[in-house]
Symmetry: C2
Subunit: 199 residues, 2 copies
DNA sequence: TGACTAAGCGGAACCGTGTTCCGTATCGTT
DNA sequence: AACGATACGGAACACGGTTCCGCTTAGTCA
């Protein structure tokens, strides 16, 4: 890990210099994009270029590839968690918010997917991350679902864990096969969640 | 595939020149050794060096890594199959023959292990290979078991498929962890097969 | 047997990645 | 403003895959 906290703690930003912090953020964002576009095996240089930093910088912040992947993972979980309430407040309707949120969640899953490979050998740190991810996101999703249900936009009674699990499974087989677009199916799933027009 | 036959056929050695054939054999043997020692991701150069040929030669015979791995796989199955009767004839006792044969079989399994990875994407050719391997080897093992049982060296009634499956499973978790030596356990398994001294 | 041809060989050279290292730029402080 | 610590960038190196081409040699034919 490049910063000093455990999975359960918040990022302490223990850094000294402002530019270092800026670069770290840029790197996390760039890596997330590149991972989505090219998988976790994307060339380091590509990530550095996208972030607008040198190669040395990336190695200073994240000595190993696993460090970077884990950091992105946590960053994405955080972003997802924080985006929930924000979307609820900003988007036109709870259902729209839910839709946007699910989109972020899918981004996250795609990134997460190669992660299992990148972390083989990394002892049991993987399970801890997974638990963290569930603890953090299920409540957020639940709140979005509740809001949409309260607004009468979707049928009530859907369980957040179940929905997230379903989305996760839809994203699982994703191997770059152009014939299989998980996002399309997830969209369908959401559509199916809609309350049937009150007959 | 570099030679032109299917899984079910014998190697046709359709080549024209003798040295080409020799090199192909040397390459198969060398690759098998290197795969056992360093896994299927071993550098091409290392295999070429071990076989005493140039890099170009390896690429001419086996254009892709999968080609080489498949060829080694089939070569090993063949070697295993042919070694059975030979060992039975040469070794002192059927049990010794069985022991030696199992040793070869383990070599094969270790090689085979990384194979699944190397063949992802290679359509369903993998299942065909697996079926071929079972068809070819189960009878050989069965004959060794029968001979040893007839000689009173092991308890009768052991099923070849079951034994092979068990050995396969013992070799499965093999990740280069020095604390886990499949061969040791397989030895134990064989020892357990021995007929208890007729009480 | 010797000349000839093309199959086959070796490995230098090239490319794309990961990784290291150090001179330079920048930040924050005094 | 000056200065030391910190961080930055990217050239340089290491390493493995892949290509390509001049040389060697097996096999043939007279």
């Amino acid at each position: 890990m490049s910063d000093g906290d455990q999975v359960t703690g918040r990022a302490p930003a223990r850094s000294k210099r402002s530019d270092a912090l800026r670069n770290q953020q840029a790197l996390l964002a760039a890596a997330a994009e590149v991972f989505v576009a090219s998988g976790v095996d994307a060339p380091i240089r590509e990530i550095a270029a996208r972030a607008g930093v040198g190669i040395g910088t990336i190695y200073r912040h994240f000595p190993t590839r696993a460090d970077l992947v884990v950091a992105v993972y946590r960053h994405q979980v955080e972003a997802c968690a924080e985006a929930g309430p924000a979307l609820l407040a900003d988007a036109g309707s709870p259902f729209t918010a839910l839709g946007r949120w699910v989109d972020l969640f899918v981004d996250f899953l795609v990134t997460k997917h190669g992660l299992a490979n990148a972390l083989r050998s990394d002892s049991g740190g993987f399970e801890a991350l997974h638990a963290y991810f569930l603890d953090r996101l299920v409540p957020v999703c639940a709140r979005l679902l509740d809001a949409a249900a309260d607004a009468g936009e979707i049928r009530p009674g859907t369980q957040a864990y179940e929905l997230m699990r379903g989305i996760g499974n839809l994203c699982a087989g994703h191997d770059g096969d152009p014939r299989y677009d998980p996002r399309r199916l997830v969209g369908l799933l959401l559509e199916g969640l809609r309350r049937p027009p009150s007959s």
